[in-house]
Symmetry: D2
């Protein structure tokens, strides 16, 4: 169960960081959606390692192969299997991890739960697992665009540690975000953020931050009243991304500082359209999208792997010390941006199909 | 789909605020668990209206009836259906809502999605829906205690607007929390919080806040690596509660202000037990519980219903004004505490059964 | 899991034969479907005990109450909960069953699996459980008719023991079937069947038989290629009905006696419509409906409860004898007819919503 | 949804007959189960084409590759992805099928449902899809043997057209079944069956038949009372296999010819074990296994592809004729045997994990 996501546009990811590869099977995709490997590769390239000077130098081309479900450039309606082979594997970098648990990693809990662990890498806890999500989301985006032509999903780095970007979710563009290697929406924040990441890395340390995401031109009606509230699905989706510690939508935690009179979003007519004058709701009311921008934020902790000596224990229950090795991101935020977008697309696509199933309209 | 929660300990809630009643069906409950209506009533009484001077005076005894699945004081392993009749219904209080959308409520989105709405109350968006969750969780708690005798789930009000409690999650007790009508864990915060709620109510306004929750003596091994990460399930669970806007676990959003060297939780041996010296992880690593306290926080917005004139629109697409009527909480936090606990118990119980299914041990 | 059926039009039944009642919760029903308690009662009356001289005299009015999900005569899109109270309970009839396992009943396996059993009746194995299915199907039929106005689901008794009816699935009518208390489609078979049932009952014995079902004017396109083949869903649905031992579609087991040249259904054009000249496929090809009549048959074993002394064992592991008591059907077939129809409607309704979700058309 | 099977031991198959390959992802497999590619290959070799003179000569080695979820010879508890590349593709054999619908195949219904079709082969309707099931079942069998060491799943050809084998389900052995290329359990039936298949093939025709299956030494307690009855899951599983038309368990359709007094299975004590003196129930009572042999039969229609001219229609809605080409089985029964076993293993493994989850014991 734990490796599938979605009810109708349902993805099942598989694969460890070291082994035959990673991939995804997508079940429930509508037929006759145009898709090719290039569409998917484009998204994978945004999350792959080695793409810029501030991310891990692990050299993975992450080349995808569509194994099924697509015929003559269109989806068949049958499962779409996508495979990405692992290439640049260096199990030797991990030999010490066989016997020592890396702090704030999954090594200990995997061993405790399963009685076994793919110690020659991060195994299933590796960020490589997200390749399957990003590949699947490339198709989800096609489905969404087919249903709602104007829809846009944009994520960006809102903060790295204490450096905060100043971004207008209503107007930020993909061009701006992709124009800088940090993937922030505020060009004034780019240099300070890059400087912080480089300084942190040279110190063998790491930093975290916040990714913000907006969905523009989403239709009214996505989401369900109770356990399938749109924000509940988004929260699950975001907290399923490695290294995340928090999720908030609309006013979020800061919203608790307002009174109801300040917080409520008044309705007004904008021609024939019902609009709200503020958007503390973050585009969702009663669990259902209301047509305003859907806005939410996800907190990422500082990368657990650091090049400093740390106290830990051995698999044989003895106290010891461990210093990180291998190739890692000192800051995952730039590479997290396409993953946040991907999970958002998967949530929306699944809810779109659910809505169509029950209500019969787009 | 949207009205069921959990995979193995699976609940399906039903019911509108006005109508025959509300309830829940629980499927997958282990057999031979002792349970009676009093066990359930105890929890329902903690969430019902009218229990203190700072919550809504709506008079609902919320008396539950177990209709199936329990025989001679024990669960049968068959579905447990629980019914709570609606009593104190005053549709007349809502007559104006038939034609006007209440700001930051679900009225508009329900109409837009379904083309219909139970306008004589909050319908499915009413907090009465959570009765089914609390009733089911009373049973989930029994199952959990049966599996892990020392386990404790405690939630409390951590803040109301800008009044912040000072609580030690490792030591706070149910007795302290239940000793005050605000349900905070800091007795010094009780009077200021009550004063703020009363003042707010007399002003026809509302306030929100944060509920914190700790799970103590949870076993190692609950949760799954990817989409079923324990924190992902908890995030979905919390964001499915009405009026929530955010979720964070462990260090949460504040954790983004630390470096990896500061944030990592070092392991050490405590006798035969692997422990961490800090708990920024919030008791979960790689999606799986590590035996430390599971700690998380949920943000609740100020109640949407206020007794002030607000701008809105009619179902006929005309601008208008609306002033709240009926009996409502100026602050939902005290009644949200048992609901947060309930959703936590449901998540843990479901994950416990999943863990046993796959790994064969408790 | 075991008590829910369907993915999108999802029902969860609950209830034991003795206890608070039985019922169902329906999740995923489209909104704005006209429905009232009378619509449901009509179907329940076809399956209830005491309706004729050849079925069990247990006196249950089986009066249903819609508790939620319906407002002003229409579905809301929220869960529809339906309750039927148990009335004519005689636990004393079952006192002997507390200590002795009834042959070919669920007593032994329930005890062995769960370590407990509602011995004062059939518990969850009682045919009363099917009330929830029939009630839910009354709504499913409304949804289907709304989508496909001409669709008809008709089941009838095709044989009782060795008395075989002669029925044309293409032309048999509900009027014919409901005109006789056996619910067969062949009026010449009515008297012999009634005579056999009465004779069997007076002998304290029981008989089984076969129910045939046809779906006429079903759309092309329902069902999925692999595990969700329409016949796979129907087979699961039929074998989930108490006392069933077999399912076959189209040519069924007899089809194994034909060669491919004889068995293949040739296509031909009937105006603009693709038709088949024979229908050995039973209206389904590759798991998907092809527009021809969907025809299948379900075998019901003779009722397990008989008024004759039988060898069995006690719960204390000793050999003993037992003679049936209580009020039972000597032949369940007449009452099975509406249940077969109900499960068929549930399968089709669920597949219809699945089809709409993926393919976007009816 | 349609391409996944099982709730806890959950498989998702993917792949078309022509394209990158076919495969499966298994989610929920217990950890630390020894498994290697040879274990899987052994089962795949039993179903692959070209294995004997009476099956299709299509030359596929069907070599499997485990891509994930297995480490150092043991399962990790993470998803197991298995890939089998397509090799011997001859799309030219299918060029005529692009424009003409093969009778009793899925061509027409796929086009009608999806608006597209992988016409250069059977696509998703190809028997190659079952490779993923057989591969997954090789692992399911390991899990089952680990839980219930003595358990045996044996299937054999019970009849081909009107040639009926005489087999004792209690004593037939895998050695006997695998000793002959028909895979029947009656050595006297081998030569007549082979002769019939050869004669049929040389005539360009095809035949069907019945596969019987027994599960010996199954534990008491597998299955659930209502929709998850063991026989309901088996029925769905069997009817999901291509070319199946019927399923019956225990006495099946013939059981309708008996009275209750004849049909009931009396209980008796066999030492400490509760046994039944007959087994009309087929090893399942009330949906739950009772410890007796689980016995059921599945009907397979004659292969739809025949080398004779048949009437059909074009995709352009014109009447036409078509004669089968390509390499096909004149009788699928011998290759269906391992597929029936595979689906049985998948059902039992999933129910075993469900039972452990709810009841906490094997």
């Amino acid at each position: 169960m734990s490796n599938s996501f979605g009810h109708l546009f349902r993805i099942s990811t598989w694969g460890e960081s070291h082994g035959g590869g990673v991939g995804v099977v997508i079940d429930g995709c509508p037929p006759c959606i145009p898709i090719c490997e290039e569409d998917i590769q484009l998204e994978l390239d945004r999350r792959r390692p080695g793409q810029s000077e501030i991310v891990t130098p692990r050299k993975e081309s992450d080349t995808c192969e569509i194994l099924s479900g697509v015929f003559e450039g269109q989806t068949l309606g049958s499962p779409i299997a996508i495979l990405v082979r692992n290439k640049d594997q260096r199990p030797s970098s991990y030999s010490e991890m066989k016997d020592k648990y890396r702090p704030s990693h999954a090594d200990f809990t995997y061993d405790a739960k399963y009685g076994t662990r793919a110690w020659h890498g991060g195994g299933r806890a590796s960020a490589r697992e997200t390749i399957g999500r990003v590949a699947a989301a490339a198709i989800a985006k096609k489905v969404l665009t087919n249903l709602y032509p104007g829809i846009e999903i944009l994520a960006w780095v809102d903060s790295i540690k204490d450096i905060k970007a100043d971004v207008d979710p209503g107007n930020v563009t993909m061009e701006t975000i992709e124009s800088n290697i940090v993937r922030t929406g505020d060009l004034n924040a780019v240099d300070p953020m890059i400087a912080l990441i480089k300084e942190t890395r040279s110190d063998g340390n790491s930093v975290g931050g916040i990714v913000e995401c907006v969905v523009r031109n989403a239709p009214v009606g996505l989401g369900n009243p109770v356990f399938g509230k749109l924000e509940a699905s988004l929260a699950q989706a975001m907290l399923s991304i490695p290294a995340t510690k928090g999720f908030e939508i609309g006013s979020g935690f800061q919203g608790t500082q307002l009174t109801g009179a300040e917080h409520n979003d008044s309705f007004y007519m904008d021609g024939d359209t019902v609009r709200t004058s503020t958007n503390h709701s973050g585009g969702v009311q009663g669990g259902i999208s209301n047509g305003e921008n859907i806005i939410f934020r996800t907190a990422f902790k500082p990368t657990a792997t650091i090049m400093k000596e740390q106290k830990t224990v051995t698999t044989g229950s003895e106290d010891t010390e461990l210093k990180g090795r291998g190739r890692h991101d000192a800051c995952v935020l730039p590479r997290a941006v396409p993953i946040v977008e991907a999970m958002t697309a998967l949530v929306l696509c699944d809810h779109a199909l659910q809505h169509i199933a029950q209500c019969g309209t787009k």
